[in-house]
């Protein structure tokens, strides 16, 4: 491997079982390098979300290792978890914006709570809003924004403190096809600017059109890992 033995993200023999004895992940081995764009596809319940939640340590693997930046996230001290999360931007299907704050303030929130200096906040928030194409909507509140605009705000919030990894769980799940393409173009731009992107999705058209790496999952296993892949192999 030219990029070193360890990728940016590496999962080694990872299993995840929930207390109700549901096994969400089975012997997952996965390596993602810096700058990759990876689609994680599969039916509902295949383990996509669980896989993503392990990366920013919302969940901890039952067995195996999850390495991010070469560090086993399960071994992180409790006080180091926030630092890991500052290197990973997260985007959800339901945006998770704060309804009582404007677009600008939602983005600024991520910097405020990580104790960024006021000067930085003033500088970076407008820059990021411009990047996601919402320069003119900064004062609008979430209920005044369309779904696509809300997702752009969420993306702005995820990237505002400059994470190297962006994980997205069904980011286009609530959006119509045109709006979805807008979001995908934005993600692609971010990827070209150096962000590593891992996106769980059901959006077959998008996956097939973009020709990125595809990790297909079913019943908690990786059943296919294909560079420039498609959503599903047609069984002829």
């Amino acid at each position: 491997m030219q990029k070193g033995l360890r990728g940016l993200i590496q999962l080694v023999e990872v299993w995840k079982a929930y207390p109700n004895e549901v096994i969400a992940l089975r012997e997952i081995n996965l390596k993602i390098d810096r700058g990759d764009f990876v689609f994680v596809v599969g039916p509902s319940g295949a383990g996509k979300s669980t896989l993503i939640r392990l990366l920013y340590r919302e969940d901890v693997a039952t067995r195996g290792q999850v390495l991010v930046h070469g560090k086993n996230v399960a071994r992180l001290r409790h006080s180091s978890i926030p630092l890991l999360r500052r290197t990973i931007g997260v985007i959800f299907q339901d945006f998770k914006l704060l309804p009582d704050r404007s677009a600008h303030d939602n983005v600024a929130f991520a910097l405020e709570v990580t104790e960024a200096p006021r000067r930085e906040i003033k500088r970076r928030v407008p820059a990021v809003l411009e990047l996601v194409g919402l320069k003119d909507r900064a004062r609008a509140f979430p209920h005044e924004l369309s779904g696509g605009e809300q997702q752009r705000v969420a993306i702005a919030r995820a990237i505002v403190n400059g994470p190297s990894i962006l994980v997205a769980d069904e980011p286009t799940g609530n959006l119509d096809p045109d709006t979805s393409w807008g979001i995908m173009n934005l993600l692609q731009t971010l990827n070209r600017n150096g962000a590593t992107i891992i996106m769980a999705t059901h959006a077959k058209t998008i996956v097939n059109a973009m020709k990125k790496r595809v990790v297909a999952m079913d019943h908690g296993r990786i059943i296919r890992d294909q560079a420039q892949g498609v959503y599903a192999h047609e069984v002829n």
Binding site: S79, K96, T114, P117, R157
Partner: protein, 295 residues
């Protein structure tokens, strides 16, 4: 913590107090009542302790002398008393002095005083102080055998009882204070839990974008401390006014009960109550956050 973060925390906690105004007021008042009761107990305990100490320091053994005893005999008794082990001080009380003291206590009972004044029935006496309470009883017994002594009084029983009562009240007060403290912590914790619940999405996002636990906790702890402090302020004002009034009333009506003056007692108590309010508030809100901060 940066000053901007400090400001952020204060802003957040004010927002919480406003959104939850009625509940906040209710819990501040509950804290106020609890601290008021605790403060009352504190005042009672401190004053009883003061009274008991005074009583102990007062006349320990009173030796009454036969009226027929000549002055020479009186001096002999005094010398013998002074020579007894543990005796530190021997004061002579004349018949006139004894009468004056009686007058002070029964100032309103003119008839009685008029009668007594005509023919003073009071004995001359020695008031004997000892260095330790254990010396009181032997001294009293020895004094009783001296020539010219009619009677010996000592108030050890009374003092013992006073100390026992003080101790009992102190224990009861302490138990009540602990119970009240727990209740206050629970009430504040419950109030903050409502704020935490109302802001759970916000907390979730804070954690997601990498805010530290300390940063997330701080506005809520701040809110709890404000509640505790507000309650403490209510309680302090009430205690201050109440005690000043009671002290004045006792001075006028029952002047022989030596209550401690308001200062520096009330200032000390206010500091203590304020501190308790802040601690109780901080502990209460930290408790309500534990579940939410666990990853």
């Amino acid at each position: 913590m940066r000053s901007t973060s400090l400001a952020f925390g204060v802003r957040q906690s004010l927002r919480g107090l406003r959104q939850n105004a009625l509940m906040s007021l209710a819990s501040a008042l509950t804290v106020a009542l609890s601290l008021l009761v605790a403060g009352l107990f504190g005042l009672i305990i401190i004053n009883l302790g003061h009274l008991a100490t005074l009583a102990e320091r007062q006349v320990e053994v009173t030796v009454f002398l036969n009226d027929s005893l000549p002055d020479q005999g009186v001096r002999a008794v005094e010398a013998q008393l002074k020579a007894m082990p543990g005796v530190t001080q021997v004061d002579f009380v004349s018949k006139d002095e004894a009468l004056n003291r009686l007058k002070a206590v029964f100032a309103n009972d003119k008839d009685l005083l008029a009668e007594v004044e005509q023919q003073n029935p009071l004995y001359r006496s020695f008031e004997v102080h000892t260095d330790q309470p254990e010396h009181i009883q032997p001294t009293a017994e020895a004094a009783g055998k001296l020539n010219g002594v009619v009677k010996v009084n000592y108030k050890q029983d009374l003092i013992d009882r006073l100390f026992r009562v003080t101790r009992a009240i102190r224990v009861a007060g302490l138990v009540i204070m602990v119970v009240l403290a727990l209740a206050m912590v629970m009430i504040i914790s419950n109030t903050i839990r409502i704020t935490v619940f109302a802001r759970r999405h916000e907390i979730g996002i804070m954690k997601l974008v990498g805010a530290t636990d300390g940063f997330i906790r701080w506005p809520f702890v701040c809110e709890g401390m404000v509640l505790g402090l507000a309650g403490a302020a209510f309680a302090a004002v009430a205690l201050w006014a109440g005690y000043s009034w009671a002290w004045g009333a006792v001075q006028r009506g029952l002047p022989f009960i030596p209550l401690l003056p308001g200062q520096p007692l009330l200032t000390g108590l206010t500091v203590l109550i304020g501190g308790s309010g802040v601690v109780v508030g901080a502990v209460g809100s930290a408790l309500s956050l534990r579940r939410f901060l666990r990853v």
